[in-house]
Symmetry: C2
Subunit: 394 residues, 2 copies
């Protein structure tokens, strides 16, 4: 038995306590909580069978009352003597996907991002936003099976693209491979078919937040996406950070969303501030190229979940919905290379080299911290991935 | 023990043997095979533990060799004496969703359907098809959690729509609720991240076929779908038939797909005929309004699966991909009301009434049969659903 200590300013102190799934060498997956630079086995720490399956999903399904009481128990237990058998340094374990993903939806909630893309793709349009953009959080379903945990390599996808000036596509490795820095929101308690989740009920369903990289092959996407939306340009991989930060830990980071004009329809009205003061950091090969401020995002997660279910669509434990690329209003705040390089036309400097889009061997790390009103930071860890050459090309 | 008999021309004879999940009154779900107007419990019939969980998915995951040997065992067992405890009349059981759906993708594979919609939505365009249409099977991900089994009522969805001539949307029940008659293809054996399924390997992965109704709220869809595709206009419900017809049972219904010009890229090339001679029948309130011929569909299921995975996206047991609306070239062969009524402008007669789109209380049944080269028919059962008034409106 020993007492675990973390520094007072550690972003993974008792004010955070994010959940994940880890695997020690040769062992089965276990559910753990991160505390400083360690992970603590929750089945052992709390002697609670909900954590015994090695999956976080059964706990996610239990709902806010249990989420709160377990958080209190963890807080108390970590301040006492802890069985050494329950404790591992992060360096000694492998981190797994922190939950089993049910349905996955990606939104398009940043006005700055949507405007930047609108200007690139429709330079002559009077308004860079489509007419629906300020009336609803635009979203689409993505592929759950290709969601991978941080650290998983990403093989450059092959697909069809239309070379400039041509009328027939060619097939081959994507030449415009991009990242998208996002937040992901994890549903704990699902909702039944036919029963919309009202915006003021979202905290009964939403468990926590992860970092998310929605890797995008811009050339494949551009050729395929009219009229039914992105498909193979996105479905080859999406990376999540290994720690689900509970919404409770972010209560001190809640801020109002940017002013919404015109006023949204009643089902999208919020009583609470649902913005989050979270700064993301995007690094390529160790060099930070952008710091997207999530607080600048127009549509909130409460509005996303209310919209997603207003037609009666059910949700399930493990549903993941992501914000879409987070971009701020200023230079150096864009969450994708297509924005930072203006469609590749103005490459940026990365470690003494130029980058329009990602090259084989590049490693992308999306990090992030929430800033609490009391000055403390809540850590998210990172969503990391390295680009491997296309299959058959290495 | 007794011997089960079906008529020689029964579409659910020994040549079919589709799989499903049923529930007798007060009992747990069981996996069964349909034989005539009965369902036979497979865990009892074969004494095989793969069927003992009440889910078809473990069997789907076992692959073609097991699919073949189990089919042989069923064929032999049904020709002998069968334990009466294993046999139920269909009228005595409830049919459940026949498999747990992993990822769901909807394609847009019928040239006639895509052309009909192009003419409606883009009347001034020189070509009703988008430039990519003949180069790749266009598809998009849909919501798995709202896929329901035949017989499940469908509540009219609410959502945003833009009234004609207005610039701001209104919220309320969809006024343009439609059906889409499709086939669904069920993946048995998944494929790993980074490993495309070649067109000539599809039979190692694809288990069987269901009927599918991709209910569509055209007004919600029209307002939301630019630029990221259909979302709430589709995600409120999709109906599958309760029997998965094995691909093996359809071997005698394989026909060439329509000629594909221009020739598809090599990864979409097929060695085998991958069309299927299946005629669908769409009925509203008991009256058949359309008979869409699946054989007229341009892109084949082998091409859909090869395309879906060519970027390295993984597949899983229970993945479902649907054809998109099946429409033929002739009058009375369109698989949706928006086509049959030209966007609602030319309502059709149904039971002495007029229908532009679906009204509350309407019951839609999609049925279908494959025609084997030897003249026998393979039955699919039906995908049935009744429209209930919007929530709060009844």
């Amino acid at each position: 038995m020993s007492r675990l200590r973390v520094e007072p300013d550690d972003p993974f102190g008792l004010h955070n306590l994010p959940y994940g799934v880890y695997r020690a060498a040769g062992a089965e997956p276990r559910v753990g909580v991160r505390f400083g630079d360690r992970v603590v086995d929750l089945a052992l720490l709390l002697d609670d069978e909900v954590f015994a399956t090695g999956s976080l999903n059964p706990f996610l399904a239990q709902g806010p009352a249990r989420w709160g009481s377990v958080r209190s128990q963890i807080t108390e237990a970590l301040q006492g003597e802890v069985d050494a058998a329950a404790v591992h340094y992060l360096a000694d374990v492998a981190l797994e996907l922190p939950f089993e993903v049910a349905d996955y939806v990606d939104f398009y909630a940043s006005e700055h991002h949507a405007s930047n893309l609108g200007r690139l793709f429709r330079p002559d349009a009077p308004d860079p936003l489509t007419p629906n953009w300020k009336h609803l959080p635009i979203g689409y379903h993505g592929r759950s099976s290709s969601i991978v945990v941080s650290g998983t390599d990403v093989v450059r996808p092959c697909g069809q693209r239309l070379p400039p000036g041509e009328s027939a596509p060619v097939f081959g490795p994507s030449t415009r491979l991009d990242l998208e820095a996002e937040l992901g929101f994890v549903v704990g308690v699902g909702s039944a078919l036919g029963t919309p989740v009202r915006a003021d009920e979202v905290e009964q369903h939403l468990f926590g937040v992860v970092l998310f990289n929605d890797w995008s092959a811009r050339d494949i996407q551009a050729w395929e996406y009219v009229p039914l939306g992105p498909f193979l340009g996105k479905s080859f991989a999406s990376t999540v950070s290994p720690w689900v930060v509970p919404l409770t830990a972010l209560a001190g980071a809640r801020v109002p969303v940017p002013q919404q004009v015109p006023e949204p329809l009643p089902y999208l009205t919020m009583e609470q501030p649902w913005g989050l003061d979270i700064e993301l950091a995007v690094a390529i090969n160790g060099e930070v190229i952008s710091r997207p401020p999530y607080a600048a995002t127009y549509w909130s997660p409460a509005q996303m979940l209310a919209h997603l279910t207003v037609n009666g669509a059910p949700t399930r434990t493990g549903d993941l919905f992501a914000s879409g690329t987070v971009s701020g209003p200023d230079a150096g705040q864009q969450g994708s290379l297509i924005e930072l390089t203006r469609g590749g036309a103005e490459p940026i400097a990365v470690g003494g080299e130029k980058r329009g889009f990602l090259e084989d061997g590049d490693e992308v790390v999306i990090g992030g911290f929430a800033r609490l009103a009391d000055g403390r930071r809540v850590g998210f860890g990172e969503a990391r991935g390295r680009i491997l050459p296309a299959r058959g090309e290495d």
